[in-house]
Symmetry: C2
Subunit: 329 residues, 2 copies
DNA sequence: CTGTTAGCGCATTCAT
DNA sequence: ATGAATGCGCTAACAG
């Protein structure tokens, strides 16, 4: 067990006042000789200033709170890596709270983080409620949203409408007319509404006599699998799925029914998850760079911290990954 | 902006001394009337005690440090989810530092966490050096390792030898005699040495005239892909890959060479990553439950925190997932 | 340039 | 049961 050594002790060991040591530590003016003395004692004792005492004085914690709906998903891990890549570089530390996909827990987490004195918060929200808005309004620190957007908050998120738009253009260019869209609940504005709307508007504007059969599912592989029967009922030539995971669930179903992709049906996803490359056939998808998005988000929060006015925005960094699962008809 | 309200303010508002408020907050004895008064003021002001001041006094931070080599991997995200599931429940918060797969950064991170006054640390290590040992020995707090093991530390990790053993038995049972092992550097004791040794010892003990061609690669999909040529040189009937990711890289190569799995070559991985189920063919693998492992690890750290003697151990929670990529010859 | 002093907000003696 | 006083370890005036 290391005895905890304080600034006072190293001060006496170096034969100076503790304020001098403090100055030395905080880029204050200290004479060369004293500095050398202090430096020596510090290195040989391995002294480190007490985190909590320092924070108590200085008011800024160098802590960033992160609220995530869950940790064990592809996008979550990439986002986190992105946040961390720039936060850690700027000497900020990251305090992560998980909401388990529960909206009330998300709110409680934000509250807790504020109370704890973090310098700023990034919230990957599942839905922005009035309560969120009220918290943000009264919060003494900047709060940045991602995942969902709302005009009264500052956010940085994937441009789901644009993603849908790109997909709509692509599917139209392949001459599909009767398609199915395997989407999620409209309670999820980003994925459930925007992504679908982006697709549908574009697709129908290019193919006026096109037909889109919307089928609702959730984010689970297995649920998508179970919707296979319903999808086939409409005899679509292409199925657009709201996420790669959904697409893979359906692909499994099609495999088992011996329906060939893309010969019989074209299939697409959204996300650019790693499995989209290794599935058979590989999956045409819109790939989002979540790590990059995470880094951008962290940068944005930092500039909010520095008092710069920042505006909400959509990240347009996405690419249509045309792979083997789609074909022209 | 919320003005930060202190214990003193609510004390005067309630007409009592701040020590009384403090007692109220910390289960001390307070008369019913005063308690009611204080309670009222607290709820109406939404007062929360200052995190840093409290920590400065009480010495325990309710913070657990986590050191990870990287965040954006399947196992990392599952582990994190596991850590968090039990830590958050016990009112601990999690401070995460990333080492970017660099050993010196890993050590620096551990040091930083100790200095910051966390109550305990979980390190997913990439290699345990003498420096690690020295830190642990002098640390005033418990440090628990996962990922790698060393007799002089406390650890909880996957039993790689057993995993290799299971795979060895399985491959032997399929009558393969000439196999290739696509593994990683022996600098990684867990995956590079133990996993391979577990396989090789078991396989050769069952098939004494068996032949194992070891080919070294790294953890990347692309590198494994590039090793395809070398693997085929030995004309193996089965290829055992040290991770699912490696297996998928090779699978991609085999696809392109039009070599059928499992008809021409059987293929296996380790990990039980989600893609092992959606690849074509689906991949036979040893599946580890990383989330469960993370939860167990967190529990172990907690009991170390409570001063209980805990011993290093291997987690034997794994299952052979026999899927489509292997066959008997 | 440096030492002395005064809090930051809280928990905890110690009296009462 | 409660109030007054002390100090956790540190930074930031303030004199010198």
């Amino acid at each position: 067990m290391n005895k905890k050594i304080t600034i006072q002790e190293i001060a006496t060991m170096a034969g100076v006042a503790k304020s001098t040591v403090s100055r030395y530590l905080n880029n204050g003016y200290v004479s060369k000789e004293k500095a050398a003395l202090i430096d020596k004692v510090i290195t040989q004792t391995g002294y480190k200033s007490n985190f909590f005492a320092r924070r108590l004085k200085t008011k800024n914690s160098k802590l960033i709170g992160i609220v995530m709906p869950r940790l064990d998903s592809f996008s979550a891990s990439k986002l986190l890596a992105g946040f961390n890549s720039i936060l850690q570089k700027e000497d900020y530390q990251v305090l992560i709270l998980v909401s388990d996909l529960q909206i009330d827990k998300e709110i409680a987490n934000i509250r807790q983080l504020i109370q704890q004195g973090v310098d700023g918060i990034i919230v990957q929200s599942i839905a922005i409620t009035k309560e969120h808005l009220s918290i943000v309004k009264n919060a003494p620190i900047p709060i940045l949203f991602t995942g969902q957007s709302h005009p009264d908050t500052t956010y940085l998120k994937v441009n789901d409408i644009k993603a849908g738009h790109i997909m709509g253009e692509y599917i139209a260019s392949l001459n599909h007319k009767n398609v199915a869209y395997l989407g999620v609940s409209p309670l999820d504005i980003a994925v459930g509404v925007d992504r679908y709307k982006g697709f549908a508007d574009t697709f129908l504007s290019i193919i006026p006599d096109g037909k889109i059969h919307f089928i609702e599912t959730d984010f689970n592989f297995d649920t998508a699998y179970k919707k296979g029967n319903e999808v086939l009922f409409y005899k679509p030539t292409a199925v657009i799925c709201a996420t790669d995971n959904i697409a893979l669930g359906l692909l499994r179903y099609l495999h088992e029914k011996n329906i060939k992709v893309p010969q019989d049906i074209s299939l697409t996803g959204f996300g650019g998850y790693p499995y989209s490359k290794v599935s058979y056939p590989s999956l045409t998808t819109i790939s989002f760079d979540y790590k990059y998005l995470g880094a951008k988000t962290a940068e944005k929060l930092l500039s909010m911290l520095h008092g710069n006015a920042v505006q909400s925005e959509f990240d347009n960094n996405m690419v249509l990954l045309t792979q083997e699962s789609t074909r022209k008809i």
